[in-house]
């Protein structure tokens, strides 16, 4: 395996629409883990993810991804990104969407069916995206990011609006990918998802409040559940 850290962020400062969203953030994501990025909405999760993928204009700081500077051309093949709102073509079918992105990535056609199976959309494969439910569209968006078998997957709230069974299955899929060496950075504002992560990063107001495994955070705060641990950590600021 490569370096111990898939993502290293140092002194990242980002301003969006005049507001200082990230005032100088430093953190790391370990290779081969499912790392949860947690925090209330407006805490800077999406901005941080955009900076890691290299689509965010940054004011200062360093973001190193898989050994290269974020946004470098070689990384476009190695990093998969799923935005909060599904970014797919509403007037194409599920399969047509995936085939297009597969051709852009230059991966074989079989990957399309594999990705559709992973997100459990086989019955809907021929359906036009516009006619899908919100959760189904979100899964198409996720499937497109799986196509290229990226080394780092950045997922912005991928399980919003999904039923519990599917949520459990997707988290199982995330862990399978991690076992194969993929690093996953998954944002969420739902605390019950935190315990499914190997490591956690808690963001509040653009600052890192805490980092560690769920066990460590519980031990440090003496709390019985993660929700309580986060409250203790956030109030201790």
């Amino acid at each position: 395996m490569g370096a111990a850290e898939a993502v290293t962020v140092r002194g990242l400062r980002v301003r969006r629409g005049g507001a200082l969203v990230l005032p100088g953030l430093s953190l790391a994501v370990r290779t081969g883990t499912v790392t949860g990025l947690l925090g209330p909405s407006g805490s800077g999760k999406t901005t941080l993810m955009r900076a890691i993928v290299g689509v965010q204009r940054v004011e200062a700081g360093e973001v190193t991804v898989l050994g290269d500077s974020a946004g470098t051309t070689v990384l476009r093949r190695r990093v998969g990104y799923v935005t909060q709102a599904p970014s797919i073509y509403a007037d194409l079918s599920v399969r047509e969407n995936l085939r297009y992105f597969a051709r852009v990535l230059g991966v074989p056609r079989e990957r399309v069916d594999e990705a559709i199976a992973t997100v459990d959309l086989r019955p809907q494969a021929g359906q036009v995206v516009r006619t899908l439910s919100g959760g189904e569209s979100a899964r198409v968006s996720l499937a497109t990011a799986l196509l290229g078998a990226p080394d780092l997957l950045v997922l912005d709230e991928p399980t919003v609006g999904l039923d519990p069974v599917l949520r459990r299955d997707l988290w199982a899929a995330f862990h399978r990918l991690a076992e194969q060496g993929t690093t996953l950075l998954v944002s969420s504002h739902v605390m019950d998802e935190a315990e499914r992560c190997d490591e956690l990063l808690l963001l509040r107001g653009g600052r890192l409040v805490a980092a560690g495994t769920p066990r460590e955070l519980l031990d440090r705060t003496g709390a019985t559940d993660l929700e309580q641990a986060f409250l203790t950590l956030a109030e201790g600021l």
Binding site: R15, R16, G17, V53, G54, V55, Q56, R57, G71, T73, R76, R77, V79, Y81, T83, A85, P86, S87, I88, Y89, A90, D91, L92, E96, Y100, F101, R103, V104, L105, G106, V128, T144
Partner: protein, 245 residues
């Protein structure tokens, strides 16, 4: 540049259009219907129809593709698909050429349908070859596409994007020589028309349909037109940003 990505993009854009048969029908049917209208409005002055009709065949694709492209690109920008594409191994040129290829196909079909109606059914006379009119129509479509792509960056809603059409197209149609010969306009207007790409598009079409003589001047027009297409596409490419705030 990557031929695989360019072709995949062109195919994807055509698939999207095929899913929207109403738009496709409007693109193909409206120009011949409008030309037919022109023909009967000028029933008493066939020479006017002969003068204006030929160039119009080549100018319709400019307007259609300007509209289709500005809306299509606006959708790419607002749906997040552009941001996704920009985070993938896809060159900006691949995306632009993919769009250009797809719209050139549609513009070619549009020009063929319109020419067929104009030259055979409506009895429009053209001095030059029909293929030249069709080729110029495709060139104009690419110009409309480039400008639509560029201006879509300044529209945040579809309402705004649609309003760019009259703002950009009508002054060029008014000054380009279609209505009044340029040398008869006030000097400042004539000078302004010198700087408008549609002036050269109209001039080339007028020469192809009325004079039929493929002299040096028409190739100058074609050269200016080609340069404008490249410039418009370059301006459009500059609005595709990998990193946004």
């Amino acid at each position: 540049m990557n031929a695989r990505v360019t072709l995949a993009t062109a195919e994807r854009v055509l698939r999207q259009l095929r899913r929207d048969p109403r738009t496709l029908a409007l693109v193909l049917v409206v120009p011949p219907v409008l030309l037919t209208l022109f023909r009967y409005v000028f029933d008493g002055q066939p020479q006017t129809f002969d003068r204006v009709g030929g160039p119009l065949v080549g100018l319709f694709p400019f307007i259609s593709m300007f509209l289709v492209t500005s809306i299509a690109m606006l959708r790419e920008r607002t749906s997040g698909t552009l941001e996704r594409l920009m985070s993938l191994p896809l060159g900006k040129l691949d995306l632009l050429l993919g769009y250009a290829l797809a719209f050139a196909v549609v513009a070619g079909a549009q020009a063929l349908v319109t020419s067929t109606v104009a030259f055979w059914l409506l009895g429009l006379d053209t001095a030059g070859p029909v293929w030249l009119v069709v080729a110029l129509a495709v060139g104009n479509a690419l110009l409309g596409m480039g400008l639509g792509l560029f201006l879509s960056a300044f529209a945040s809603t579809e309402f705004q994007a649609v309003q760019f059409m009259p703002a950009v197209v009508i002054p060029q149609l008014l000054l380009g020589g279609l209505l009044v010969p340029r040398e008869r306009m006030a000097r400042p207007l004539e000078l302004a028309s010198d700087a408008m790409p549609l002036t050269y598009a109209y001039d080339a079409l007028a020469r192809a349909t009325q004079i039929g003589e493929l002299d040096g001047r028409i190739w100058l027009d074609v050269g200016v037109l080609a340069g404008s297409v490249v410039l418009a596409l370059a301006l459009g490419a500059a609005t595709l940003r990998r990193r946004t705030s």
